[in-house]
């Protein structure tokens, strides 16, 4: 896919004459292989190979983007020409079409190997199922008018679907999601997660409505902080956190950062979609609000490498990547003792936040009641809700000491733009959550 950075930068030069102007070319090549499983059989195989290129200009009063669904030099020239015409500059001359050089050998997505391994895994742990496994391979290149061009790539695995598991009152349909970058330990981690998800459980009873203390365990507190810190702290977002920089909002024991450099998590990247090397950003530092997620166009201050695009057809926006909560000192038993009475939740399967009001909600499929500091019966599904500032202020200072990656957090949609995100968190105890049963 790689375009010649020198030539492209030369074409872009006239678009960025003033220091405040941004002009860049973004190109992506994207391959995807998806397989649909139904009770041990692969029912359908899908493959996608797509390319796109977009030229972007940003200057006083606005931004322009021209996108084409091709990734070659001719496409790059055409996108830049469209942009030049749009802002009233004389466009690059049209060059006669040249035969595109044959694409070099690209590394296989290794689908067959994954199919073999997953077939055996499903047969052992969840023989009745409906799963979709998707392997995605992205390669992106950013060429700015000024500065250094960059290329970066990621390979991601997602497994989502439902399976039938045994519970003490008979069969039960459960949902399962697992999102991780492809690496040497990915399959083993998936095996452990699926094995855990398929364990026989008590039949759940309905949750009560009202206020409750709850421990968010198993890393799922990452979902909470993704909604109440990551989104409100995207530069330009209007939220109750505006104007509260350096204010103490939570217990001093709480440290939360957005860390795109964690490549072991689903939302990691080496370069953001403006070509900036990302920095870990402390969002809460000893309980104080301390940072925002910025890109080149949305401050305050210089970019900290959080410009993200859903694809080449979209302009970059500041977005979160991996939300990582720092460890505390409490063991699980200590967390149960501190909770005393409430809910222990290990799985959150969806969340949303309304930024202007700061209200959020998190949906959990199942929870375990804790009574007199002991695990009791299971309940669910239900919805936790609250307001950002109130919930931050009611987080208990006793934070779990073991940080776990939360692999069910994978894709985040915001304003119609979907980007991969990830998270890791220790057990976190929140006092006075509003809980409501579903069904």
């Amino acid at each position: 896919m790689e375009l010649d950075p020198t030539a492209v930068a030369h074409w872009l030069e006239p678009l960025a004459k003033r220091p405040e102007e941004i002009a860049e070319l973004f190109a992506e090549r994207w391959r995807e292989a998806a397989t649909e499983w139904h009770d041990g059989e692969v029912r359908e195989a899908r493959a996608t190979v797509a390319e796109g290129v977009s030229a972007r200009w940003r200057g006083r009063g606005g931004e322009r983007l021209a996108f084409l669904s091709r990734g070659d030099e001719e496409g790059a020239r055409e996108a830049i020409r469209a942009l030049q015409k749009d802002i009233g500059l004389s466009p690059l001359p049209v060059k006669p079409s040249r035969a595109r050089p044959a694409a070099g050998e690209v590394a296989s997505l290794d689908v067959e190997r994954w199919v073999r391994r997953l077939t055996a895994l499903f047969a052992r742990h969840a023989p009745r199922h409906h799963f979709r496994c998707t392997l995605r391979d992205f390669a992106r290149q950013v060429i700015p008018a000024r500065g250094t061009a960059s290329t970066f790539a990621r390979r991601l695995l997602s497994l989502e679907g439902t399976f039938t598991a045994a519970s003490r009152r008979g069969d039960e349909k459960r949902e399962f999601s697992f999102h991780a970058p492809v690496g040497e330990s990915t399959f083993e981690e998936l095996r452990v997660a699926l094995n855990h998800a398929t364990q026989p459980r008590e039949a759940a009873t309905p949750c009560g409505d009202g206020q409750t203390d709850a421990v968010l365990g198993g890393g799922c507190a990452a979902m909470l902080f993704h909604e109440i810190l990551s989104h409100p702290l995207e530069a330009g977002a209007e939220s109750p956190l505006n104007g509260l920089e350096q204010a103490r909002l939570a217990a001093a024991e709480l440290e939360v950062r957005d860390d795109a450099t964690r490549l072991d998590l689903f939302g990691g990247f080496e370069r953001d979609d403006e070509g900036t090397v990302p920095r870990p950003v402390k969002l809460l530092d000893a309980g104080r609000l301390s940072g925002r997620l910025t890109d080149r166009a949305h401050g305050p201050g210089p970019s900290n490498g959080h410009a993200r695009r859903a694809g080449p057809e979209d302009a970059p926006l500041p977005r979160g990547s991996n939300i990582v909560v720092g460890p505390g000192h409490s063991a699980s038993e200590e967390m149960t003792r501190r909770l005393a009475s409430g809910l222990w939740i290990d799985q959150i399967d969806g969340g949303s936040v309304e930024l202007a009001s700061g209200r959020f909600r998190l949906r959990f499929p199942r929870a375990r009641r804790v009574r007199r500091s002991r695990m009791a019966d299971e309940c669910g599904p239900g919805v936790l809700s609250g307001e950002i500032l109130a919930v931050l202020g009611s987080i208990d200072p006793g934070i779990g000491r073991e940080v776990r990656a939360y692999r069910a957090l994978g894709w985040c949609a915001h304003g119609g733009h979907v980007v991969p995100v990830g998270g890791a968190a220790p057990d976190v105890l929140v006092r006075r959550f509003s809980v409501r049963r579903l069904w």
């Binding site: 692969v42 359908e44 899908r46 190979v49 797509a50 983007l65 689908v111 309304e354 009001s357 069904w439």
Partner: protein, 419 residues
């Protein structure tokens, strides 16, 4: 391009003689987004190719952003062994090529006018925060191994608006997705934004725990779209009684004939009565689901993008009734209940458990008169009961993007439980 198309056809014929389909799409759009005094415009031109084929009796799907990429995807899709499935009965038809206008014009600048209306409708309590309007056009062509060769063309004007209502230190946001089939309807959009952004700030809970429930067309359309799984091919939940699924005055139809002559698989579009006077009728089928069910396809193979294979789904779904009433009459008939003006969360429908839950903001109604705003209320209960309690449909049907057009008038439910 025709040379590349010919080459792809040959490749598919070699892989799956007679059992393939080739789809190509080209689309162009211009989007204008205004927020905080800044204008972002995006001009997009996209081409996509997709193929479905039954190689050695097993279904596969491949797509790419060019013929070369599609060829690479074909090889990748063929590498996985899949279980067999009988190929569908491929449609056979031909149509003249359809072309859209050459260049897509920029969408109109509606920011100021909409801002003025939102401010007026909310008495200054809400302001337009962001507006994105997109104008686009597309051309599609579908051919298959049995001789089908049809073309489609379409255009759109759609977008998304975000307004923020404020009262003291409290704020509420309203996000409304819209699609206009003719001229921009700013009046309705501004009213929806103003209601959704300001009613939740009223601080008043629901004054009634049970009563009549009047649904604004956008709320009724969201409910109808939430019910769509009942109309798709596939097993029905145990609680469904086909003969009296809805109350007797309700008809639900899917008819996209005015939008496109063919669906995403080349099957001719037709009107399908899914519910006729309360009774569940036909289901929505694409080629594969029709084959499995042993019925003819209904023309509902939907492709949301060239990157996804067609699947059965609604294309233009709407309520009808033989006994419509005016929305004024429906309001007058409410003795004690709530008017749901806007949803505050996506509708939740659990078909397995026969449960629904809708969270909304609206207005309390007593004796046919508005008695003041209700910040938030939740209606919940059994889907089966809700559908049989539809007591009236008005004449003010409007269509909303769900993302396909879903059309509903003001709807009266004779009894619902609120909290």
């Amino acid at each position: 391009m025709s040379e590349e198309r010919g080459r792809l056809r040959e490749r598919l014929e070699q892989r799956a003689p007679g059992q393939w389909e080739l789809y190509e799409k080209s689309a162009e759009s211009v989007e204008r987004e205004t927020a905080a005094g800044e204008v972002v415009t995006a001009a997009r031109r996209e081409v996509g190719w997709a193929a479905r084929f039954w190689e050695q009796g097993a279904p596969r799907f491949a797509c790419g952003s060019s013929p070369e990429n599609l060829e690479r995807a074909l090889s990748e899709a063929s590498r996985v062994e899949t279980s067999g499935e009988t190929p569908p009965e491929w449609p056979v038809a031909t149509s003249a090529p359809r072309k859209t206008q050459n260049r897509v014009e920029a969408p109109p600048d509606l920011q100021e006018e909409l801002q003025r209306r939102v401010s007026a409708d909310s008495r200054g309590a809400a302001r337009l925060h962001r507006l994105s309007v997109r104008r686009g056009a597309s051309e599609e062509r579908i051919v298959n191994g049995r001789g089908l060769d049809v073309s489609l063309a379409g255009s759109l004007l759609d977008g998304c608006a975000l307004a923020i209502g404020r009262q003291g230190s409290r704020a509420c946001e309203a996000r409304v997705v819209f699609r206009w089939e003719g001229e921009p309807d700013l009046e309705s959009l501004a009213r929806r934004l103003a209601d959704r952004a300001t009613l939740p700030l009223s601080d008043r809970g629901t004054p009634v725990e049970r009563g009549e429930w009047l649904l604004e067309p956008s709320v009724a359309a969201a409910l109808l779209a939430g019910l769509a799984p009942l109309f798709r091919a596939g097993p029905l939940p145990k609680w469904v009684h086909r003969a009296d699924l809805f109350s007797p005055g309700v008809t639900v139809v899917d008819d996209a004939s005015a939008d496109a002559v063919y669906d995403g698989e080349g099957t001719a579009t037709r009107r399908v009565a899914l519910v006729l006077e309360g009774t569940l009728g036909a289901r929505l089928h694409d080629l594969r689901s029709a084959r499995r069910a042993g019925v003819p396809p209904t023309g509902h193979g939907v492709r949301p993008s060239y990157r996804l294979p067609p699947a059965p789904g609604p294309r233009r779904l709407f309520f009808e009734t033989s006994t419509p009433a005016s929305s004024r009459d429906l309001l007058a008939s409410v003795r004690r209940g709530l008017f749901a003006s806007a949803l505050t969360a996506p509708p939740l429908l659990d078909f397995e458990r026969d449960r629904y839950e809708l969270e909304f903001t609206g207005i309390a109604v007593v004796g046919g008169r508005a008695m003041g705003p209700v910040a938030g209320a939740r209606a919940q209960g059994r889907i089966s009961q809700l559908l049989r309690r539809i007591a009236g449909l008005s004449t003010d049907r409007q269509f909303f993007p769900m993302p396909y057009p879903a059309g509903a008038p003001t709807l009266l439910i004779e009894r619902a439980d609120f909290d």
